[in-house]
């Protein structure tokens, strides 16, 4: 399918190519612009949420904002690197990424299991790497490659089971970490790939029942820590002020919700949020950035942010629909559902409709691992779009 109106001579292209097949002519710049808009909003938001705390301690107010800019630059490199090497090249190396990432999750799980603490990241000097974040693109890539290999219209049973095992191992490791938020997001990615790969309905029902059963069994057997359960309990007890064990969780959500509500239609204005400036919301820059957006920019700001996410999803959806290879389609599907779910879960916990889980809001939250992970996923999507005509 030729898209003739895009054809343009680019004599300055270093590779000297002027072909319509040149992938660099097919970049979806609108998607990338929207993502950078989100990232810039995120940067300003991080400054507004972290500077009051830093000022209080007499530390440089830009500390976290500067770090986020550095993460963003690193993520941009990752984005273009993935776009450059392309998803087809990565297809053959998928397992190279899968095994180390799974292994590092295993180490973290063992670490958490033996020490009794929950450890979600490796501290590497100035940065902390969170393997669960990196697992998201890796799992999408591996599953897409697996199903593309099968290459049939409707997925046969044995292939389905094998894929399930492949996805199940890292899922279980993250789940028992325990990091329910990330596990749910991984599951969302798997769900996207499965839907587009054409899973039969009975298989689908089977896996859902299996997941529910596992979840119930793990609660019953005590493998899920109490505090993880409390997050669910807290969701139904948001107005409970007497149970001290729920206090912190309930309080967190209550203040986050109040911050959003206080924003009204137009918000209090940048750096004018009382609850944000008052440091009322714990881990606001990483887990509850949306509360700051809601308080400072109101309904208008929320609509802009959600609109940008919707636009990015729409562009991804278009890429997926137009992708000409099953592998590309599966990748895009996985990224699409992962993004939709993660945005829903993070904003949802801020406004009190999903359980609290330490999950970042894509492109907006403070943190390097999730930015890089999302850069890789967007890079994969762009790569699919770029090499559509190949």
């Amino acid at each position: 399918m030729a898209i003739t109106f895009r054809v343009r001579q680019r004599p300055s292209d270093p590779r000297g190519s002027a072909s319509v097949l040149d992938p660099w002519r097919n970049i979806d710049w609108s998607m990338i612009s929207a993502i950078f808009a989100l990232a810039i909003i995120g940067g300003f938001n991080i400054y507004s949420t972290t500077s009051p705390r830093l000022v209080l301690r007499g530390v440089d107010a830009f500390y976290f904002t500067q770090r986020q800019v550095i993460f963003l630059i690193a993520a941009t490199f990752a984005l273009f690197a993935v776009m450059f090497v392309g998803h087809d090249w990565l297809r053959g190396k998928a397992m190279w990424f899968y095994f180390p990432t799974t292994f590092s999750l295993l180490i973290l799980w063992l670490w958490s299991y033996t020490s009794g603490d929950t450890k979600l990241s490796f501290d590497l000097g100035p940065i902390a790497v969170q393997p669960a974040e990196l697992m998201k693109p890796v799992l999408v890539l591996v599953l897409a490659a697996w199903f593309a290999e099968a290459g049939v219209k409707s997925l046969p049973y044995d292939e389905f089971v094998r894929a399930l095992v492949l996805a199940g191992i890292p899922f279980a490791l993250v789940f028992f970490q325990p990091d329910l938020g990330s596990a749910m997001t991984l599951a969302a990615g798997v769900f996207g790939v499965l839907v587009i790969a054409g899973t039969q309905r009975r298989h689908f029902i089977g896996v859902t029942v299996l997941a529910a059963g596992t979840f119930a069994a793990s609660i019953w057997s005590g493998l899920v820590r109490d505090y993880q359960l409390e997050r669910f309990t807290a969701l139904w007890n948001q107005n409970n002020t007497t149970d001290t064990s729920l206090q912190n969780l309930v309080l967190q959500v209550r203040y986050a919700k109040r911050a959003v509500a206080a924003g009204g239609y137009f918000g209090k204005g940048y750096m004018q949020g009382e609850l944000t400036n008052g440091r009322f919301i714990p881990v606001q820059s990483t887990d509850f950035p949306f509360s700051a957006i809601g308080e400072q920019f109101g309904l208008v700001g929320c609509l802009v942010v959600i609109g940008l996410f919707a636009f990015v999803m729409f562009r991804i959806w278009i890429v997926g629909r137009n992708a000409n290879s099953p592998f590309g389609r599966f990748i895009v599907a996985g990224v699409f559902t992962t993004l939709a779910w993660q945005v829903f879960q993070n904003i949802g916990m801020t406004i009190g409709i999903t359980p609290v889980s330490g999950l970042p809001l894509p492109f907006i939250s403070y943190g390097g691992s999730h930015l890089v992970a999302w850069a890789i996923m967007i890079g994969l999507v762009q790569s699919v779009e770029m090499r559509r005509s190949a």
């Binding site: 001290t244 809601g294 959600i306 559902t337 829903f344």
Partner: protein, 721 residues
């Protein structure tokens, strides 16, 4: 390129995503558009916290400006009880706090359970921590959530036990006064005066609390001050008490009681003059308690007011636990041993002969004695009631009343013809028995004696500015009926007021009772010619912030007076004609100076021996011995009232020593020492700040003695009342 099935699948996940986004938008719209206003209201409430600022309590100075109750600013570490609600958290937090606060974990646990601290308020962790400790905790407040450092005022009493019955002490608001203090705007956990001047002038001393309204964050940390209203310190108070003399009074009282405890009481004699075999063992005086009041009789101000046993008010700020406190201040039903009682205003005392001057006044003022001061009565040692028929006497009604036994004869003393002056000088009982009978029988059984006595304030509170004042009792028909109804006396006894009751009344025995303060005040009325004051221990209420002249001394000359108490002091003027007053005063003068009367042989006056070498200001006085349980000698309580007849040194005093013997040997020496000290003829110790309270001991107060007790000694004992 997209097949139909592909299209369908993409539509499905598209719908999935749209559903999620719509859910979010609906909820956000609800929060921001619908609940905004109500949320803002909630935020405003949560964000500010009001902390009451307790004002500095007014200080208390003695008459010369010595600071006798002061305040010290202390830092207190407290913790929000919610933080330590969970036993595991509590252990963890106490472990962490134990080091920095230098307090054992066990102590923190006992304090957490301590009933003294309201469950609804923060739990105090440590009192009086150092600035460094406070800074340590505040810098690490993230590690010590819920811990707060508060500034508080601690009351300090630099002179320990001296004057503590007058100054009083502070404590938690008691149940019965909770409503009252609440109506005045007190916090339930505020400390208020529970005793002494601290109680009666509580409202003056307290000041006006201020408050700070803080903006706080989620953890309760203070972000900024929204509003601050400074507290206003309480009014300072200048007592009329001179603490050097107060110390001297306490020393003299305690020294004399200890001396009396080493004295053997006389044997109980049978009428035949031989020792009663039932009481063969040697009995020492118990002398457990006593009190002395010194007043300025021209102003009604109290100069010194001592009560023994004493206590150190610092026990109430020492933060000792309930058990320790019960060891120091044991609960007791024995009135001899109660400590937290100011006997000068609360003592319910029989008065004995020290009451006779007022009976003499009653007789003279009501015209009972034919010829007034010139009236003479032939005292032959006994008095037989004239109003009771002989057959009634034979049936067992007590008709014959005797004088005290004279040692020379072993029989009731006989004084011959005595007038009022001489009757007072030698303390002739029969003279007063006669008054007691005839003032009733010759006046149509009207309560003439009671009416005259009440003029001096007996039987009703003096309204001194100290709490828990006892009104005293006066024997009359109504009181007897009351005593009969509660079973204190036999119902038969309580049925009527008899002549015998009035006879006992006339020598200060029987159902009459009064406080030492009432007695001092009544003597003062004779001294000043008929003015009965409402006595005061406070001279002035000063505006807050009196400066210090030097350490421990307030700059009184430059203090500004808010209220001068003397201007509010009530007084009543009672009739006191010269022909009534003069025989009283000269009779009381003769008690001190002699001479006595000659009948058979020379009878000394009751004070003659004691005051033989007395060189102090001229005084007049009267001894008294109040009979106690079973009339046993060792239960005799000793009383002595006196006043200066020097117009430039207008002092009156009354002392009462429980179960300490005759008036002349126990109470009178204390008063004598006091007048020597008032006239600067006896060494009075300088006032020095007390040693720190020894919390290891169980003594309510450290003992204090006269450095030179020789003023207590008389040349020979005078075994008569």
């Amino acid at each position: 390129m997209a097949t139909d099935s592909q299209q369908r699948r993409w539509s499905r996940i598209g719908v999935f995503a749209i559903t999620l986004l719509v859910l979010l938008l609906a909820r956000i719209w609800f929060l921001q558009a619908v609940t905004k206003d109500e949320t803002e209201q909630v935020i405003r409430n949560v964000q500010s916290r009001v902390v009451k600022l307790i004002p500095e309590r007014g200080r208390i100075f003695d008459v010369n400006g010595r600071i006798v109750a002061d305040n010290k600013r202390v830092l207190i570490a407290a913790i929000d009880r919610r933080i330590i609600a969970d036993p595991q958290d509590r252990l963890e937090m106490f472990k962490r706090l134990s080091g920095p606060l230098n307090t054992p974990i066990e102590r923190l646990y006992t304090r957490a359970e301590d009933k003294r601290y309201n469950e609804l308020t923060e739990m105090p962790l440590a009192f009086d921590i150092s600035e460094e400790q406070a800074a340590f905790l505040m810098e690490r407040i993230e590690d010590y959530p819920g811990v707060a450092i508060k500034e508080e005022w601690r009351r300090i009493y630099p002179y320990g036990a001296i004057g503590s019955h007058v100054i009083g002490f502070l404590g938690a608001i008691q149940k019965d006064s909770a409503a009252y203090y609440k109506s005045l705007g007190y916090d339930p956990n505020e400390r208020v005066g529970l005793y002494g001047v601290e109680l009666t002038y509580e409202v003056d001393l307290r000041g006006v609390p201020g408050f700070v309204r803080y903006e706080v964050d989620a953890v309760g940390r203070i972000k900024s001050v929204l509003e601050r209203v400074e507290p206003q310190a309480g009014n300072d108070i200048q007592l009329s008490i001179d603490f050097r003399l107060q110390q001297f009074a306490e020393q003299a009282l305690e020294t004399q009681l200890l001396v009396r405890q080493r004295n053997e009481a006389p044997k109980v004699m049978l009428p035949e003059g031989i020792p009663d075999p039932r009481y063969e063992e040697i009995n020492y005086y118990k002398a457990p308690a006593g009190s002395i009041v010194v007043m300025n009789h021209n102003t009604g101000e109290v100069v010194a007011m001592a009560s023994y046993p004493r206590f150190d008010a610092r026990w109430f700020t020492a933060n000792v636990d309930a058990d320790k406190f019960a060891q120091v201040f044991p609960q007791t039903d024995d009135p001899d041993r109660s400590i937290l009682v100011n006997r000068a205003v609360s003592g319910r005392y029989n008065l004995g002969s020290s009451f006779k001057p007022f009976v003499a006044y009653a007789a003279l003022n009501s015209g009972q004695l034919p010829g007034g001061a010139g009236y003479e009565f032939d005292d032959r040692g006994t008095y037989k009631l004239e109003s009771i028929p002989k057959d009634r006497c034979d049936q067992g009604v007590k008709c014959v009343f005797r004088n005290a036994i004279c040692r020379a004869t072993g029989a009731p003393c006989r004084y011959g013809k005595v007038d009022v002056e001489e009757a007072l000088a030698v303390s002739s009982d029969t003279f007063f028995y006669k008054i007691g009978e005839q003032i009733l029988t010759e006046r149509g059984y009207q309560p003439v004696l009671e009416t005259e006595i009440r003029r001096f304030g007996f039987g009703s509170p003096t309204n001194i500015d100290l709490p828990f004042e006892f009104a005293g009792t006066i024997p009359n028909a109504a009181y007897k009926k009351y005593l009969g109804s509660i079973g204190a006396i036999a119902e038969d006894e309580g049925r009527a007021y008899y002549v015998g009751d009035n006879v006992l009344f006339s020598i200060g025995q029987g159902l009459l009772s009064a406080t030492p303060l009432q007695m001092a005040n009544a003597y003062a009325a004779i001294a000043n010619g008929g003015t009965v004051f409402e006595p005061r221990v406070v001279r002035a209420v000063l505006t807050p912030g009196t400066r210090n002249k030097s350490s421990g001394l307030a700059d009184l000359p430059n203090a500004s007076v808010a209220r001068r108490i003397s201007e509010e002091t009530g007084k009543s003027v009672i009739p006191m004609r010269p022909d009534v007053r003069e025989p009283l005063v000269s009779g009381l003068r003769r008690v001190i100076t002699g001479p006595g009367v000659d009948f058979d042989y020379y009878h000394k006056t009751t004070g003659e021996n004691l005051f033989r070498n007395y060189s102090g200001m001229p005084i007049a006085g009267k001894t008294g011995t109040a009979q106690g349980f079973n009339n046993l000698p060792w239960n005799d309580s000793s009383a002595f009232g006196a006043f200066s007849v020097d117009a430039t040194q207008p002092y009156s005093a009354f002392a009462y020593l429980e179960k300490a013997g005759y008036g002349a040997v126990a109470a009178a020496p204390v008063v004598k020492c006091m007048f020597l000290a008032l006239g600067k003829q006896w060494r009075v110790d300088d006032l020095v700040p007390a040693d720190p309270l020894d919390v290891a001991s169980n003594l309510p107060a450290m003992s204090t003695r006269l450095r030179n007790p020789l003023c207590l000694v008389s040349s020979s004992l005078d075994a008569r009342d």
